[in-house]
């Protein structure tokens, strides 16, 4: 018997063991069951989130006299309950997608910098600096955004409006710092670390041979990145930015603090106001009545479903890639 078959035999024996949960002893049975139970409990919690949100959302949806999907109103506690998620969906998607557009190139740049440009000894420390951005609580981003960034953005907004007002996005009658653009920039800062850390990991997996082959052909550093690194990391970058999008969609407090209170659908990025699912819930929950709370839960359910879909799509991209590598 060669050592190889011995090893195979050992692996098989171990496999057999993994398949059998316990040896029949009481301690083994209890421990195995509690481990399995915890896993099942996790699934139960996920199911419960969906079930309880649906159960509590139904009364409001029944009472709603307006179209839940297309109405722009939000008066669930009025005598004639009327509310819809149109402007919330619009504000949420617009601010998150804008944040994604702003954050992705920067995040990829950071990942490239740390993976290929920074001196090797510094790379870990620089990665930690970027991760620090992720450690800052969102309420602190909100406070900083409201007290420091919004006043700065007042000037920027006026400048953009005066000099680039002919671009429809920067047009409109009123401009101010508490606008969708400001919220998007704050969101972009918040999702930077998640996108860049995943992208960095993907970049570090690029086969050494591919990079060396490109170098051997006389490629400059940028050409190596463009020919060997970026094509390899494309699906990873896509899924990383989708995870960032999921994060931005659900971000609550920073957006709630930064945005003004005026509502309505407007493509004018500099107009004060705008609203998102999460900000709307945070701002109005304390004052909402029974139907109002139920309506907010209904909007939370929609947010849950949207983020679920985005995250699942991102995971699907990652796992499909795993099969190839």
């Amino acid at each position: 018997m060669t050592s190889e078959t011995l090893e195979q035999g050992a692996t098989r024996a171990l496999d057999g063991r993994t398949r059998k949960m316990s040896t029949g002893r009481l301690g083994d049975r209890l421990f195995g069951l509690s481990a399995k139970g915890s896993g099942i409990l996790l699934l139960v919690i996920m199911a419960a989130i969906a079930v309880f949100l649906i159960v509590k959302a139904v009364p409001a949806l029944r009472a709603d006299k307006a179209n839940f999907l297309t109405s722009q109103e939000w008066n669930p506690d009025a005598a004639q309950s009327r509310f819809g998620i149109a402007q919330l969906t619009f504000g949420t998607v617009l601010s998150s997608v804008l944040a994604l557009i702003l954050a992705t190139p920067v995040a990829v740049g950071i990942a490239l910098f740390i993976a290929f440009y920074a001196p090797r000894r510094l790379a870990d420390g620089l990665g930690y600096v970027v991760d620090l951005l992720a450690a800052v609580p969102s309420i602190v981003y909100g406070l900083w955004g409201l007290q420091f960034f919004v006043p700065k953005m007042n000037g920027v907004a006026t400048f953009l409006h005066d000099d680039f007002g002919w671009i429809p996005l920067f047009g409109g009658d009123t401009v101010g710092g508490q606008c969708i653009l400001t919220a998007s920039i704050v969101l972009a800062i918040m999702i930077l670390p998640i996108i860049s850390s995943i992208t960095r990991e993907i970049f570090l997996q690029v086969p050494r041979a591919n990079i060396e082959a490109a170098l051997a052909l006389g490629a400059t550093r940028w050409e190596v990145i463009r020919m060997a690194v970026l094509p390899f990391g494309r699906s990873g970058m896509i899924s990383a930015s989708m995870l960032g999008l999921g994060r931005a969609l659900g971000e609550t407090i920073a957006v709630a603090l930064v945005l003004g209170t005026a509502s309505g659908i407007s493509l004018h990025l500099l107009k004060p106001g705008g609203n998102t699912f999460a900000a709307n819930i945070a701002n109005t929950f304390a004052m909402a009545g029974k139907i109002g709370q139920s309506a907010l839960i209904a909007s939370g359910l929609v947010l849950f479903v949207i983020t679920l879909l985005v995250n699942m799509a991102a995971r699907a991209v990652i796992s499909r890639r795993k099969e190839f590598v």
């Binding site: 996790l42 620090l132 969102s138």
Partner: protein, 292 residues
């Protein structure tokens, strides 16, 4: 007749290379600027009210216009809520990870759990708050209380704990398991006394990062813990306060004294979070798990 330059890449390619270098460095600088200004403004503005009164007084009977007051009640609340959330989520999280790594072995249930752990990571924090509100307060009829906030935070912590523990358990060399089995040690004792201790520092690091993450969560507390200005030491009775809620509450008042309190609260919160982060990384560096 033009000469071909064989000493290096042509001008345009060199230029593109330089341009890319500048762009990449600029991207990194763009990320550092907000971090630096944020830390600077928080420290500068937070220092104003970072005094003894802030840590020893609550906001009881202090209006938004009044100076003074502090975050004692909020700090108590945060510690209790986060502590309870850890007590709930760490055992469940670690056991789930043990199931996935030690028992799962590619079973269908394990694959489903893995998938939903990923999905759970993406649950927006406000949704977990709504869930606990719908379940604990609206359905079971409890009042707003610190423990409800703990439940919401536990939902957010759970996937992070599972992920971190799973990664660490995977790093434990198989030889250790086999050696233990060969000595006739039952499986559960192997896991409890050989595998988990080996991965212990790594798990602690992951858990501390998870705690740091939920400590700053505000959204789920809005609809579970509610707000109060008085000291409430019991997480099981009546509304409590928490540091993020304190900042949220004070930041929305127009008066400068309230804004100053908010900054001091933000500074306290950041210190808590950064210390946890730093401690976690130090532990991780001090004792790396045995490599394969």
């Amino acid at each position: 007749m033009s000469t071909v330059n064989l000493t290096g890449p042509s001008g345009i390619r060199k230029f593109k290379d330089k341009l890319a270098f500048v762009a990449v460095c600029a991207a990194f600088a763009l990320a550092v600027i907000p971090l630096v200004t944020l830390l600077y403004t928080v420290i500068k503005n937070g220092a104003k009210r970072f005094d003894m009164e802030f840590f020893t007084h609550s906001m009881n009977a202090i209006g938004g216009r009044d100076a003074g007051g502090g975050a004692y009640h909020a700090i108590i609340g945060t510690i209790e809520q986060v502590g309870l959330a850890s007590v709930i989520s760490i055992p469940i999280g670690v056991l789930t990870a043990v199931y996935l790594v030690e028992y799962g072995g590619g079973r269908r249930l394990a694959r489903i759990v893995t998938f939903f752990v990923d999905v759970m990571t993406g649950v927006p924090s406000i949704v977990s708050g709504l869930f606990v509100f719908a379940f604990w307060i609206a359905l079971l009829g409890f009042e707003y209380m610190g423990f409800a906030g703990s439940l919401a935070l536990a939902v957010l912590m759970l996937p992070t704990v599972v992920r971190a523990t799973e990664e660490m358990l995977k790093l434990v060399p198989n030889d250790l398991r086999e050696a233990s089995y060969a000595l006739g040690v039952p499986r559960w004792r192997t896991i409890c006394f050989v595998i988990l201790p080996t991965a212990f520092t790594g798990i602690i690091t992951g858990v501390m990062l998870a705690i740091a993450r939920v400590m700053g969560e505000t959204a789920p507390l809005l609809m579970t813990v509610f707000v109060t200005t008085a000291i409430n030491n019991s997480p099981f009775k009546g509304p409590q306060m928490a540091l993020p809620l304190f900042v949220w509450d004070q930041a929305q008042l127009p008066q400068q004294v309230a804004i100053d309190r908010a900054w001091a609260g933000a500074l306290t919160l950041i210190l808590f979070v950064m210390l946890l982060n730093l401690a976690a990384r130090l532990i991780a560096r001090l004792r790396k798990p045995v490599s394969r």
